[in-house]
Amino acid sequence: MTRDQKKIFKKILFYLVLAVIVIYLLFPFYWAISSSLKSEAQLSMTPATLIPRDPDTGEISFFTRNYRAIFSNGGFVRGLINSTIVATSTTILALLTGSFAAFALGKLRFKGKTPALYTILAMTMFPQVTVLSGLYAVINALNLSARVSMIFTYLLFTLPFTTWVLTSFFRDLPDEIMQSAQVDGATPFQTFHMILLPLTAPALVTTGLLSFIQAWNEYLFALTFTSIDPSSRTVPVAIQFFSGEFARQEPFGEIMAAAVMVTIPIVVLVLIFQKRIVAGLTAGAVKG
């Protein structure tokens, strides 16, 4: 093959792989969207149809009542607001505390780094179900409100994550940056927040995004802590409360509609922040 042919071949291969990945990632979501536009009768159709069709005529027919139902359900909208508040707060808290700890563990010199790192990691080594009743007792003892309890308890798994990832990033930053900054007369803390932090922006955005989504997804703690306070329910809990008309009925179409509606803001969020994910090391500071 000529060089040009090789190039074209590689390009086609690349786009093929890209297409397969896109289909793999998006198809189940497409299925969710299509299910959300089906009525119960359409959902029971055998064989299942890729596009919502009328069970009798076979023509394409969209069922939009599911979407109307979830928006008229005040709980869902309130759930979105609560989830946003809780997930944002816990992420910011995790990033702040985590980056402070990561700077110490990654760049400063002192004894006892390994035990400190492992202790922080240990927080997240228990399954949620085990620590649930203990946490519930703490919340009740401290009389914390539902949202505050969620924000702080989610740190159990977001904090070790941000700490470890950021520690590894800080450690990888060349020591010369710190040294040159110290030569310039900066205190370690100034070096931290004026120089190092901006350099780890991609790591911050990445861990922030992943932690945000993890907090957004959390169900078990949210269910227990908001049990007496329905107005502070987050989205996963609100969706579980979607009722059909009768007991035992699962309004599957509505649940799918809710899933679609909830995923879209996140996708938008990512689209906004995605440039930041790939900022990369800026040349100037490194070359020095």
Partner: protein, 356 residues
Amino acid sequence: MSNSNSSNLAKEEQKLAFKLLIPAFLILIIIALYPLGQVFYTSFTDKEFASSKETSFVGLDNYKALLSVSVKELEPIIDEETGEQVVDERTGEKQFQRPIRVLPRDPYLYRPSFEFSFFGNRYVVGARTPDFIRSVWNTLIFTLFSVFFETVLGLIVALVVNSEFKGRGAMRAVMLVPWAVITVVSARMWEWMFEPTRAGLFNMLGDRFGLIETSYSFLSNNSLQLPAIIAVDVWKTTPFMALLILAGLQLIPNELYEAAEMDGASKFRQFFNITLPLLKPSLAVALIFRTLDALRVFDVFQVMLSQKRYSMASFNYFQLIQARQMGMASAIGVIIFIIIFGFAVLYMKSLGVDTE
């Protein structure tokens, strides 16, 4: 003069480090100390959840009940007339004694957990809590396969997204979609896709392409359960690995690749000699957290498999809510903790990640 300066600097660094670590440890003490301590303590008692029964200290009883295992050999059933081993007409399998006859019953009943063959002999592994032993096995298999696939796929996705092409920005958003769908909803969505009639996506597709004859019940079929769950988790969590690996890829300076190009190294060699080694720290962290989460897997097992097949965490849940055995549930929690801790240390040592 310079000595005291550098030792001053060192002291200042230590003080600063201390101050920087305070917020993290403060949070740890407030939200983690009591619950985790309570778990450890309760695991040595026979406490029942929401019960007025007296709680007493039982030492290691819970652990013994969970971990007691007994391996016994099963004798083949010999047909008296022919002197040969009996073969089941329907399945063609050789017949052995039933485990019920060989497993110990006093003072504790041991129930069969697994059977396996070794050099033509058949053995049964019995346990006092067979569901727990099986759940450990299920969780380990699940972890192994899901972490493996997620890492490989995540790497591929990250590499693809890292290269320059049109629509890269949109691709980064698309990449996150599975991770962004709420876990419990995603589990239900997949459950519906696995529906055991042609109303379910997989049975419909299988039928359309002539791959299957009758509809399968994926989640009730012993050999299909774990693969189905693994598929769900891989779909959901590949973005997590991909994103972390992508962040790590970004840190590798382009100059290294340029220099290698000039030296005539193939893309392949570049990958193995530059990318992988420099990716190790990010990969290590990603692997640790992903494995941790996989060992604690709960949502997907509870929603899709409920009581058909347990993971350690879902078994823990059912022990607490249905059997209300809080002491035993806490012991399970501690065992999970120890297993996870072991994995973490293993990763750190074998990936050569430096913590100092």
